[in-house]
């Protein structure tokens, strides 16, 4: 049995890039939502949470419509001479960012809201500018939130299936990620391959969660003592 590593590597690459994008995009969204005192807050929070409850195929379907060459975004991208998005790796990243958005935003938003106003007020009376306050007070105090956001985004992206299939298809080396590869193996009755990949995923998922909870527990203990 020769093991094909390319779906594994592709999944890792996709998850890494998606996580980085999500931390960059999700942090300001979470910050804004955490500070918002307006009726619009609940609709926005619900919007961000949509991927949690929507069937991935629904999300994938709409993304496909928008990103397709004749779709709203697809036309703009084509107009800029950047080719098409669906069934490419960048397309996968875009879809993954939407799909995993709540997994980054929610832990961050909870962490930011948990801080309360006081540490920021203290920092401002100690002459820290808003940006300074964010990086020297908010980020260190919300570290468990950042860690949770990163790990959940990463793990969730590794595990996604429906959205990938809708947007990326099944092109080896480009969009054929781990979960899709497992599906393929099962479809073609290659149970050995499916076993190896599935067991690997199982161990990976458990390890990730174990490390996450252990580290967050340690941070909480360290700040109390």
């Amino acid at each position: 049995m020769t093991f094909d590593w390319s779906p594994v590597l592709l999944s890792l690459k996709l998850a890494t890039i998606t996580t980085l994008v999500l931390l960059i995009v999700g942090t300001p969204i979470a910050w804004r939502l955490a500070r918002l005192r307006h009726w619009i807050k609940q609709p926005l929070v619900s919007l961000v949470a949509l991927p949690l409850v929507l069937p991935p195929t629904v999300l994938g379907f709409y993304l496909l419509l928008v990103l397709a060459p004749n779709g709203f975004v697809g036309q703009i991208v084509k107009g800029m001479g950047l080719g098409t998005i669906p069934f490419t790796f960048p397309g996968l990243v875009i879809a993954s960012v939407f799909y995993s958005l709540p997994f980054a935003v929610q832990p961050l938003q909870n962490a930011f809201e948990g801080l309360g106003e006081r540490p920021l007020e203290v920092a401002s009376t100690l002459r820290a500018t808003p940006l300074d306050r964010f990086f020297t007070v908010v980020v260190p105090l919300a570290r468990p939130g950042f860690l949770t956001a990163a790990v959940l985004s990463f793990a969730h992206t590794i595990g996604e299936f429906g959205v990938v299939l809708m947007i990326g298809g099944n092109i080896p080396g480009q969009t054929k990620v781990l979960s899709v590869a497992i599906y393929d193996h099962v479809e073609t009755l290659e149970y050995d391959q499916a076993h190896v990949m599935s067991a690997g995923m199982l161990v990976f998922a458990f390890t990730v969660l174990l490390v996450l909870y252990a580290v967050n527990g340690r941070i909480a203990v360290a700040e109390k003592s």
Binding site: R118, P119, E121, V122, A123, S124, T125, L126, R127, A128, T129, P130, D132, T136, V137, P140, L141, E223, K224, S225
Partner: protein, 382 residues
Amino acid sequence: MSGIIEARFRTGFKGGFSLDIDLRLPAAGLTALFGHSGSGKTTTLRCIAGLNRAEGTLRVDGETWQDKKRFLPVHRRPLAYVFQEASLFPHLSVRKNLEYGARRIPDQDRRIQFGQAAEWLGLSALLDRRPANLSGGERQRVAVARALLTSPRLLLMDEPLSALDHKSKREILPYLEHLRDALSIPILYVTHSPDEVARLADHLVVLDKGRVLANGHLTETLARLDLPIGQDEDTGIALEAKVVERDARWHLMRVAFPGGSLWIRDHGQAIGQKVRMRVLARDVSLALERQDASSILNILPATVTGSVPTDHPAVVLTQVRLGHPLPGSNTGIPANQNDRTIKHIDGTTPLISRLTARSSEALALSPGKPVWAHIKSAAVLE
């Protein structure tokens, strides 16, 4: 105007609370903002800090921090703020907490050095600890030092002792007294404790329901009969006096203040040193004649200046003034609530006496009547 803090704020909040204040405060010494909860004292302090945004004007020592056109953000105001809970950064050591503000001011503005602040507040042994490993009192001392290390031009303190137990309070009070005397930084100090007012304040502002009830010199304001500072057991005045004489044989010392002097127990202060004392209304009795055949040591001539009933029909509070006011001067009860510049009037000092209504009538006490104040005791605050 320099030497003055001018604060005018008007704001309405949800739930019916509104703030409407117009204060002129001395930009020196410690000014207590006193009031019960809901009086607006913390809101006033937060408006001065810029933590709350209220319509108004704020000028500190001639510099405008807020008016119609501008609003200086908190981090650009040269002030420091000590919150009710110490609010140290839990992720930083004591040393890093202290350095947080200190590192963010320009070098030429630095007037308080790290070692100095650490020594003032007794922190040298705590520098490498984490905030979680400090007692409540220690944490609050770190918070005060951290605030001072920004070399502020105005120090704001919001009930810094109220979250502490009795023992921690007693431990931290001497540090605050020392700072008040050693620093040339004006301090605005929010409190609901008459004890802290008596011990720390030079100047007193009384707030109620978002309005200024009184604003003046500590002794004069505490002596006002129209304020809710206390119609209870602890009603009385606080004053600062100077040690002028010592009676070694009887372990007594004489302390003098405008309009009189008192013999009190010798607390060991040197001649010329200042002491802060509290004279409670229940320790002052009035008589028409000087009763020398009495165990009471301190008998001083005074003039009745006013009287009010209390919650109990049997008891009245009477204000008298030690020393003789010059003819034509006012009675010490400012006509205008916002009279801010009241000092010891004409070198006199007011006292409050707690009497029965019957005695008051029997002695026919009315404003202008000369009496002898018999002072049973005066407590030195230390």
